[in-house]
Symmetry: C2
Subunit: 332 residues, 2 copies
Amino acid sequence: MTRKSTAAPTMKDVAAEAGVALGTVSKVFNNIPVGEEYRARVLDAARKLGYQVNSYARGLKTNKTSTAALVWPTLWHPFFASLADAIVGCLMKRGYRTIVTITNYDSTAEQQCIDLVRQNKVDGIIALTYNPDLDVGPDLPFVSIDRHFKAGVPCVASDNFSGGQLAAAKLIELGCRRLLFLRRGSGVAGEADKRRMGFEAACREKEVPFASLFLLDEAGFAPFDAFLASHTHGGVFDYDGIFCNTDRLCYEIQKRLEGLGIHVPADVQMIGYDGIRKFDSDELFCSTIIQPVDQMAQTAVDLLLDDDRSSLPALICLPVRYQPGGTTRDSV
Amino acid sequence: MTRKSTAAPTMKDVAAEAGVALGTVSKVFNNIPVGEEYRARVLDAARKLGYQVNSYARGLKTNKTSTAALVWPTLWHPFFASLADAIVGCLMKRGYRTIVTITNYDSTAEQQCIDLVRQNKVDGIIALTYNPDLDVGPDLPFVSIDRHFKAGVPCVASDNFSGGQLAAAKLIELGCRRLLFLRRGSGVAGEADKRRMGFEAACREKEVPFASLFLLDEAGFAPFDAFLASHTHGGVFDYDGIFCNTDRLCYEIQKRLEGLGIHVPADVQMIGYDGIRKFDSDELFCSTIIQPVDQMAQTAVDLLLDDDRSSLPALICLPVRYQPGGTTRDSV
DNA sequence: GCCCGAGCGTGGAACGTTTCATGTAATTTA
DNA sequence: TAAATTACATGAAACGTTCCACGCTCGGGC
């Protein structure tokens, strides 16, 4: 009787059952060449005993865990959820499991999650964070999504600048004469603000008048309402094209405009950013700049797992595309 | 020189640095009483060296991993995403990390994921699956969401039967004279079909005529279109109330009806099921029966982690509630 | 027919913890 | 004051792997 029947069988049990040495069993489960005769005996014994490799013992010994961690703001929001889904899928395809931690957009929680998963000896971390001076620690592959750190941390993002340009160009092409950019938050650094910069660059180039408005979180929609009031003359809003830096904001602003009797896209045309779809159908919430979610996920995973981490790019911008979705006059 | 400076420090290093025995360091990190003097020395040394417990060594020794696994169909769909988000949050609060695996609704993948995470020595599994005869294996806490297995596997679900009753009662209360139930798929066993059973029970009780229609996946909307055609007389659809077993289906059917010039809620009132919201705002897609997502998550986690697994309930039904969302005439 | 090398299975050390039996010093009891 | 008891730090064994040095066997070359 090698061990109590309730405990999980170990390699030692398999070795005894198969009549081979411990090292031979190990080789079989690591795909290291072993005589056919032996391999068969080991596999039979393993099947008979219901043996499974203990990944904790393996992780202790090898310092490799086949586990990556995701440090994520939320799974609630469809954009983050779809990106998380794609990343988990890519990691699974490469034989990695994924530990998911959720920060709720909180800087402190972000640091805690990173410390926590580091302690867990994961092989790498993919994070989407808001804390600009996060300590990602040494010696562990780290890929950031959509946030560009100073340190040697590679960042995968959609081409925000081009996306902003594209949105402005589309609105102009569709006949708008005066454009408005809207976003939440205040930071003018980092990836997020490149959408505005691209937008403004395109407006300047085409000599179309524009304004940019930041909606601070604490102020709600008050700044927008004020802007709307002060730029409405004779019941007509001066601006006939709006680019919002997320689909969500676009949707909210649209509802606000409709509530005031301003029709979209008849009176004002609008474009959002992200490419969020209703349920998992094809239908968009608004005309939008679509982020290449699958490609971003694939790129992030490749960057995280691939060997040559000595020469990592600082920033990878992936191409975006425009698609009409009901808030512009090109919608079918 | 205790060890190369590039490798992570171990308890042995901390013990040497603090001038105490290995066992003492272990006690400190397990909150086992230790003299104040010693505790302080150990904590100082650990801080100085940047020591962190190696959870793989600990897991190997204790056979406890502080890790749970989620076997999930997708993170794409907002209902599943929000439930996953809530579960991960509950687990984090209790000091557990979560490994997420994604099955894409595939029965084979479901079994593979379960085998995979079992091999990983997780402390428990929470799953939302479609394969009715999944082998969940022995000796590992397992909680199923929304799917009731035969075996001793506890299931957490919303009160589907009451939800169906509630939907029918609401439609009748709002003036509907003839009701239709719609769902995808075919299985008449399990939790999913209880929504129909509750619906039909309420219709019978109140003596309101009704029909139930199953939309097989391969047939698309053809069965519905046929039903619609054969029950439309003089341009008027016989049925003035529809209960769909998901918000998604409700939304799709609504669009289909509107496309045919049948107005919701003026001509037909509709109620869905799930309580999905647009983005993370409060706005619903349709009038709906809301599942108590947070409570389901909390219950599942409690069930998974709490000690007394000898007397587990087979099924826990959590209360649902109705909320108008634009597809019924009680919407504001 | 002998020797050398290739090929391959063997057994043990090591990974970083936890835990338990052991030993020592401090405190209490008669 | 001596013995008994408590309190607590100690160090080694064990958890289930991986991996390397070792040694056995077999075959080819001269």
